[in-house]
């Protein structure tokens, strides 16, 4: 469904991503593990097509179509969306209206706003009329971001650390939502640095210094991550200083 071929991104003389080759199949949950600063969010932005994240080289294909140069909204209309790690706040926009925005280009798997909120563990009666602004806690805002992706019912959901800022007791709820996506045919590219959350995936990869270091089943990748990446300082090394990863 999604294929990245030899993707690299250089920003201000720094090689942020290089030689990324990655595939995500329909309804697959694919996790990307990596410590802070390894390029996980950048990879998400490149796939979504955010301004300033056009790949320097390489090709992005989605359902057989080259989307490398397509703008964000065109990618979204083809079924790709992104849940931000730190989602934007919107003064004056209610949760209900925000979720309806996602439904403008909804697929058949799209859920109603109240259903979306229930799925992410928020009471629709309490939240639908609230504003998506600074009055929401970080955790509430992240859940609403996930609900907004559910409202859209995309073919590919890129979830950038949906578990960060969420209390430990609610992590299982996030994992359940990720499984819901997969059950309804949505592929998930799950970006996280929590091995427990990454374990929900069908396949996992570790990202290191802007490239995919290893791909495999989630358990073996989690082991590798624990043993090799947690203490690793090989992150975003500038071009001129780049050294081989040991």
């Amino acid at each position: 469904m999604l294929r990245l071929t030899d993707i690299s991104l250089v920003k201000e003389g720094r090689k942020i991503l290089h030689d990324i080759n990655l595939e995500v199949e329909k309804a697959e949950i694919r996790s990307i593990l990596g410590v802070n600063g390894t390029g996980k969010s950048t990879l998400a932005y490149v796939i979504m097509g955010l301004s300033g994240y056009e790949p320097t080289t390489g090709r992005i294909e989605f359902q057989g179509e080259d989307i490398t140069t397509l703008p964000i909204s065109e990618r979204a209309k083809r079924g790709i969306t992104l849940a931000w790690q730190e989602p934007a706040r919107f003064e004056g926009l209610t949760v209900s209206e925000y979720l309806e925005v996602g439904r403008r280009h909804a697929s058949q798997t799209s859920l109603r706003p109240d259903e979306c909120l229930e799925k992410v563990g928020l009471d629709p009666g309490k939240y639908l009329r609230r504003a998506v602004d600074v009055s929401l806690s970080g955790g509430e805002r992240k859940r609403i971001e996930l609900a907004s992706v559910l409202a859209m019912g995309p073919r590919l959901a890129i979830l950038d650390e949906p578990d960060s800022g969420i209390d430990a007791l609610s992590i299982q709820n996030i994992v359940d939502v990720i499984r819901t996506f997969s059950r309804t045919g949505t592929a998930v590219l799950l970006i996280t640095h929590h091995e427990d959350v990454a374990a929900v995936a069908d396949r996992a990869s570790t990202l290191c210094g802007g490239t995919v270091l290893k791909t495999g089943d989630p358990a073996s990748i989690a082991r590798f991550f624990r043993n090799h990446c947690r203490e690793c300082t090989h992150v975003n090394v500038p071009l001129e200083q780049e050294a081989n990863h040991g």
């Binding site: 979504m48 955010l50 301004s51 703008p71 964000i72 909204s73 990618r75 979204a76 209309k77 790709i80 969306t81 992104l82 931000w84 989602p87 934007a88 706040r89 919107f90 003064e91 004056g92 926009l93 209206e97 925005v101 996602g102 403008r104 280009h105 907004s148 859209m152």
Partner: protein, 316 residues
């Protein structure tokens, strides 16, 4: 006797276009005042809310008195408008809100055909001790931009009183807007000023909101949300003066620029006289936040649609 029925119907239509409900405007259970150009077309008092009005060569004088202790179950509806393309309307008003009273005002100002209309609103407001007054003013202008809007308010809020004002001009071309509101807050009084204006084409917007926190523990907020598009120029002056112990004031300004020729500026003026007072301000001026736009685009909206959603939310 002159027949104003057509003007009555036209002003009612303009009132509805600005978001009002004409059925309520002329409902006898609601206190109300309708002034079309220089004529008072309708005036209704209810027990506890006295509306007095007098026509003048340039508009009208109005005195609105809410008796002490009155809790108005329904809002007071005010409608001011000029239907011809040209004209001057000067409304001089006094509001006396008696001690412990509670009242909401819905004011609608309609200038749907204006090419050269000047609307002056000069208000003196006295909110008695522990009284509450909320005043919401919504404007409806035509697309020509030929309106000069000069609202001036001088407000005094006695001990424990609350005054909340919202000025909204987002429909049609704003024209030349010079808003000048000053609120004096006494002990434990609360004042909130909120201006929301959408400037287009050649519009000129000047918003001056001032809070004088003169009483112990007085609290005030001067908030403005302005969108300046095309060649519009906007300037916001948010002022707060802390004159008393534990007074708190905040100036909050957001101006969004749409288009390369629009200009916006913000001037916060904070002055602490009593060293136990605390004043804060925040201002954000620029284009619509990129992350907000891209978030909405990632749900399939075009860039223009995304900007529209952000702007409409902010001005709501």
């Amino acid at each position: 006797m002159a027949d104003y029925s057509e003007e009555f119907a036209a002003i009612a239509r303009a009132y509805e276009a600005s978001g009002g409900d004409a059925a309520l405007l002329f409902n006898k259970r609601f206190a109300g005042l309708v002034v079309s150009h220089h004529r008072i077309l309708y005036r209704n008092s209810i027990p506890g809310v006295l509306i007095e009005g007098q026509e003048t060569p340039t508009g009208a004088r109005a005195r609105i008195t809410v008796s002490p202790g009155t809790v108005a179950a329904n809002p007071v509806h005010l409608c001011f408008g000029v239907l011809p393309k040209e004209g001057l309307q000067e409304i001089v008003s006094e509001f006396e809100i008696g001690e412990g009273a509670k009242v909401n005002f819905f004011a609608h100002c309609s200038f749907p055909n204006a090419t050269k209309v000047k609307h002056i609103m000069d208000a003196r407001v006295h909110v008695g001790a522990h009284a509450e007054m909320a005043y919401s003013e919504t404007h409806y202008h035509g697309e020509e931009g030929g309106v000069e809007v000069l609202p001036v308010a001088r407000v005094v809020v006695e001990d424990g009183g609350i005054f909340k004002n919202q000025f909204k001009l987002i429909q049609g071309a704003a024209g030349d807007v010079r808003l000048d509101y000053e609120v004096e807050l006494k002990k434990d009084a609360v004042g909130e000023l909120d201006a929301r204006i959408y400037g287009k084409k050649q519009d000129r917007i000047l918003v001056k909101e001032s809070l004088f926190l003169n009483g112990e523990r007085a609290r005030g907020l001067a908030k403005s949300r302005i969108v300046a598009s095309d060649q519009c120029i906007s300037e916001v002056v948010g002022e707060a003066v802390g004159n008393a112990p534990d007074a708190r004031g905040h100036v909050d300004c957001v101006e969004i620029i749409k288009g390369k020729q629009a200009r916006a500026s913000a001037v916060p003026k904070l002055q602490v006289i009593d060293d136990r007072a605390k004043l804060t301000h925040e201002a954000a001026i620029g284009s619509v936040d990129k992350k907000q736009i891209e978030t909405l685009m990632a749900r399939g909206l075009s860039e223009d649609e995304a900007i529209d959603v952000v702007v409409k939310g902010m001005l709501r």
